[in-house]
């Protein structure tokens, strides 16, 4: 596979260089919201959507910034885009699915500080992807995040019924699980040589 082909970018971002498990982005929701599947899944989908919107807007804004030679404003511009995208999603959810809106609660505005989204915008800029590559990169990143958070939620739900030493409750357990998941996903490395 060519290393800049769309299929490669997608598979690489979902599996080999998973945003959460390999690049350490989006850890706060990964550790915080992954207690139950029915909060993790909507969180994953909401994040995916924000990623898509932010990626497209960031691509456009970056073109403008480069053209005007004001690239030092990139960080502030990207944050503004992400905050607006989150606001958009919040309003949409409030209107079309109020129960989901309520169940996600405080975590929805916290997507703004999710480093995965800003990381996505920054990485696609550094890698100088064109529009279709950026789009696929965003879809891949979202899918990878969703996969990681869903897996983690599934594991933690199962573990609720097992007897563990009391010391391991809470964050320590999530981190150990995360470490094992990360180790597993390392097996996908080397996709490029297919």
């Amino acid at each position: 596979m060519q290393s800049d082909s769309l299929t490669f970018i997608f598979l690489n971002t979902v599996l080999a260089n998973n945003f959460v498990l390999a690049m350490f982005l989006g850890l706060c929701p990964f550790l915080g919201v992954s207690g139950k599947l029915n909060t993790a899944v909507p969180m994953g989908i909401a994040t995916m959507f924000v990623m898509l919107v932010s990626s497209v807007c960031a691509f456009a804004i970056n073109k403008v910034l480069v053209a005007l030679d004001i690239e030092f404003l990139r960080l502030i511009a990207y944050i503004a885009i992400i905050a607006s995208a989150v606001q958009l999603v919040e309003m949409g959810l409030k209107k079309y699915s109020p129960s989901l809106f309520r169940s996600l609660g405080i975590f929805l505005p916290l997507i703004t500080t999710n480093c995965a989204i800003l990381g996505l915008a920054l990485f696609q800029t550094f890698k100088e992807y064109n529009f279709s590559q950026s789009l696929v990169y965003a879809i891949g990143a979202g899918t990878g995040f969703f996969l990681a958070i869903a897996l983690m939620a599934g594991l933690r739900e199962k573990l609720l019924l097992s007897s563990l030493p009391s010391v391991t409750q809470g964050a320590a357990l999530s981190l150990m699980l995360g470490g094992l998941l990360s180790l597993t996903f390392m097996g996908f490395a080397g996709l490029g040589s297919l």
Binding site: N114, L118, G170
Partner: protein, 219 residues
């Protein structure tokens, strides 16, 4: 807008709070992303810690100074603009100091802007206290964050590369535990540290229970 209803005196606690009792990483579990990503060596950990401390102190000072003039509705947006300014500044400064360091820290310097610690402290502390007190608290939080980063960075570098701050400690025969400098290692080492602290806390609580008899321990 925000009222200065808090104690204006600067105590040792305003500094030390961030070091141990409310350590941003080990207790509040904030700012996880850089903690795992840039701690594959002690030098990176230290640099990241110092950079974050700079942003914490500078933005804390400015937020505290301007909090009277910032309308409530736009306060988060304003804080973010202030934080982003200082992050961009430190980004250029690190590039000027050492290109190698900049390349190893990568995009995580710019990701300091979404580090929940900074926004959290601006909202919860800097907007409600005097500038000097905010600076002291920010220094404490930054020190606690750097301490946590160094805990991870040194363990990972020691086990994963047999070195500390680039100084080879064990010689050529040492077979490094490579996974420690890779992503899974980050998760596992942090998990191990949290386990340790939780266990120590449990032991302390049990001792206190034993000493005080029926007195229940409020956590």
């Amino acid at each position: 807008m925000s009222q200065r209803k808090s104690d204006p005196r600067i105590t040792w606690d305003s500094f030390a709070e961030g070091l141990w009792k409310n350590n941003p990483v080990f207790v509040m579990l904030l700012g996880m992303c850089p903690v795992l990503a840039v701690t594959n060596s002690a030098m990176n950990a230290l640099a990241m810690g110092l950079a974050t401390t700079f942003v914490l102190v500078a933005s804390g000072y400015l937020v505290s100074l301007l909090s009277r003039f910032i309308p409530r509705q736009v306060r988060i947006a304003t804080y973010i603009v202030i934080i982003a300014t200082f992050v961009t500044i430190i980004d250029y400064v690190i590039q000027a100091i050492s290109l190698d360091l900049y390349n190893s820290l990568g995009a995580f310097i710019q990701l300091i802007v979404v580090n929940c610690i900074i926004l959290g402290r601006a909202e919860a502390y800097a907007s409600k206290h005097s500038p000097l007190k905010s600076v002291v608290n920010a220094l404490g939080m930054g020190a606690g964050f750097t301490f946590a980063l160094l805990c991870l960075g040194s363990v990972r570098e020691l086990l994963g590369a047999g070195a500390l701050f680039g100084f080879d400690l064990f010689g050529a025969q040492f077979q490094p535990w490579i996974v420690m400098v890779l992503p899974p290692g980050g998760f596992l080492v942090l998990g191990a540290w949290l386990l340790l602290f939780d266990w120590l806390k449990q032991r302390r609580e049990q001792k206190q229970l034993a000493i005080s008899g029926e007195q229940t321990n409020a956590v």
